[in-house]
Amino acid sequence: MRRHRLAALAALALAVVPLLLVLVPLLPAQDEHAEASVERPLVTATTVPAPPTTRYTSPPRPKTPVLLPGGYDGCDHAYGERVQCVPWTFPPGTANGCDWLRQHGFGPLTVRGHDRHGLDTNGDGTACGRGDR
């Protein structure tokens, strides 16, 4: 019984496949990708940019200045020599600023301004010096 079904299916396939081979290309299905490809960006366009005109009517300059916070360069310049950059913020997870600084090549640091990080615990004017925790 199962063998008969398989034979019938095979016969059907033999009859239909050639028909499909002839008919399918005749279908107006178009190419499945053709429509998506029609736009070509103008990357090749000959572009001769116009020189600027001699006068522009620009909007008035805003009166509010763009103010940037202290430590904008990521450094707290209140510590150490002026070439040094004690981080304005220590990397997350830093438990002890002085340990971090020592591990990164810093020695004791003269406190030249506000001790934001609390690195001069004994108040002797030197951060991460002897006696500082």
Partner: protein, 688 residues
Amino acid sequence: MHTTKKGWLAFGASVAAAAMLYTPLVLLPASAAQNLMPNPGFSQVDADGKPVCWQDYGWGENRSDYGLTAEKALRLTMSERTSGDRKVMPAQNTDCAPQVAAGTQYDLSLTYRTSTPNTAITLFKHTAEKGWEYWTDLSTLAVTGEDKQFRVRTPAIPAGVDQLSWGVTAYGDGEAVTRDYSMTAVLADPPRKRCQAGQACPKGQWDVLPYQSPVRGIHAVLLHTGKVLLIAGSGNDPSAFERGSFTSAVYDPAAGTFTSVPTPSDLFCSGHTQLADGRILVMGGNAGYPTEDGKANYKGLAVSYIFDPATNSYQRTNDLTAGHWYPSATTLGNGDVISLGGLDEKSEGSVSVEYFSQEKGRWLAGNEINQTWKFWGLYPSMILTAEGKLFYTGSHVFGNGLDGTGSSLYDYGSGTIRDVEGLQDKDNRDQSMSVLLPPAQDQRVLTLGGGNINTNVAANRHTDIIDLKEKNPRHKPGPQLPQGHMTDGTPQGHGEGKMYLSAVILPDGQVFETGGGLHNRSDPVFEASMFDPKTNTFTEGMATDPVPRGYHSSAFLLPDGRVLAVGNNPGDGSFDQRISVYSPSYLYKGTRSKITSVASKNWTYGSAQQITVDRPVAKAVLIRPAAVTHSSDPNQRSVDLPMAVDGDRLTLTVTANQNMAPPGWYMLFAVDADGVPSVAEWVRVGDA
């Protein structure tokens, strides 16, 4: 006309294809001599008189049509165009478009005449994944009233591409008549001998030079002499600033010598870019260091100089309209320069647009500039697009990104700024690096890594890729930055990437990514990789620079194909003045091709240029010399030169789009099929 007909045309093409099912038009990859174009002589026509297996495509507002002339040539006409284009090429279907093999190059040729300069040879490619999509324009066609033959060789077919369709595009009013289409495969060169250089074969090799730079290489500009201008100014040393001790030097990598250059102002933290004549425009700089009480930041200079490689000297120009400390500098397609951002003379955000006119030879006055008064941040990475706009990639220096999406397209002419979506984690892209991926014609930008010196989070592994050719371009996440190890050999932790990194376009079309660190002026990362723009993938494990390269470091391409790295300025205040040189793996593959002659050193836009080489090459490229600081070189680009090959003679077509290759000197490399580049010859691209 064209839009309503499109469906019927496609239907017609399908019917024709079906009718030819049992004719020998089915195209297969074939021998070198076989013409792969379907119906190349237009001998077969359909009921409408159109050539079988050819189809027109187009878009926009215009009137256009195509058909065959009495001589069986293809006539494409366009009129009343306000936008868009029209092109005729093999129908983009399985039966008609030629099949191609990845990695193979093809010689294309046709005979043409055209009444409009706005005609181009356009290529579309097909992949199983994406279907048909625009690939590239290989060249424009010069106006001619007489029949001319045009030949050009494709780049190597990218991986995954199985079919190609190409033809002539019209994007201006006029008429183009074409015939004798041919497409033949180029025979592959015999394989090279196996590389014998051990680990240098896959990874390349770094060498630390036996001498150091006498100046702090904070700014590095490759000159068309092959020498390097290293600018320190006060070199991030307040005591040098107070002494008025400002330095620069011209370094000759070939001879290993340095020539001191008198430096009239503190050009530390200036901007710089190459002018059309090869001189270097330097703008802004440092007018003051931060105060100890933290109340004042750096202050920007308004001065500007032009450095002349012929005399190794700075000549002062007129001043900018405001001070700029950390300004951008982008050379435009007409040779002018726009500079944006930074801190002004009062330590406030500098909101003045600065515009240098090449024609006038000076910075324009305030009322000559189309001001937008936007604060663009510090060293904003502003890349010139094919349309002449400035693309702010989101790469910047110090702290958070800009408000909005952190990336935008800026049109100077109209004064409009439009946000661009998709940039990942825009407030942690401080000292990331962006690069216009090669070739520039593809208009894709890669942005790599970044951190935030204010929050001091670990730098990230983000990469973003954007295709500026898209109608509404947006960043898309790319592959994560590869990871390396820290100074003590500890591997990077989960999610840890790099800031302060360098991305260097190589002549073989890869981008070498090197150097960088994890935190604010600390924790250098030793990792280097190669990014392939064709596959959007990194090849990890390139050799790493033995010298840490963090803040105030740069890496850039030399004319001999090597990469030079300078600088490192960690928080402890030291400055590493060692110089390292990277030899990519292509330098270990054996004999290099040589450019034996260049007919002209002055290349005009849209021109055909003749060169000769001593062995077969697969492509030729123009690479703009570096002008880099702080992981920022928005002018860096590699421009493909479509070529026709006749033995050892190459005819190279220079882009007709000035925005694609802004005027100036470029390094011309010939590159063979294995990616091995020649030593560069210098050519100047610009107006006649």
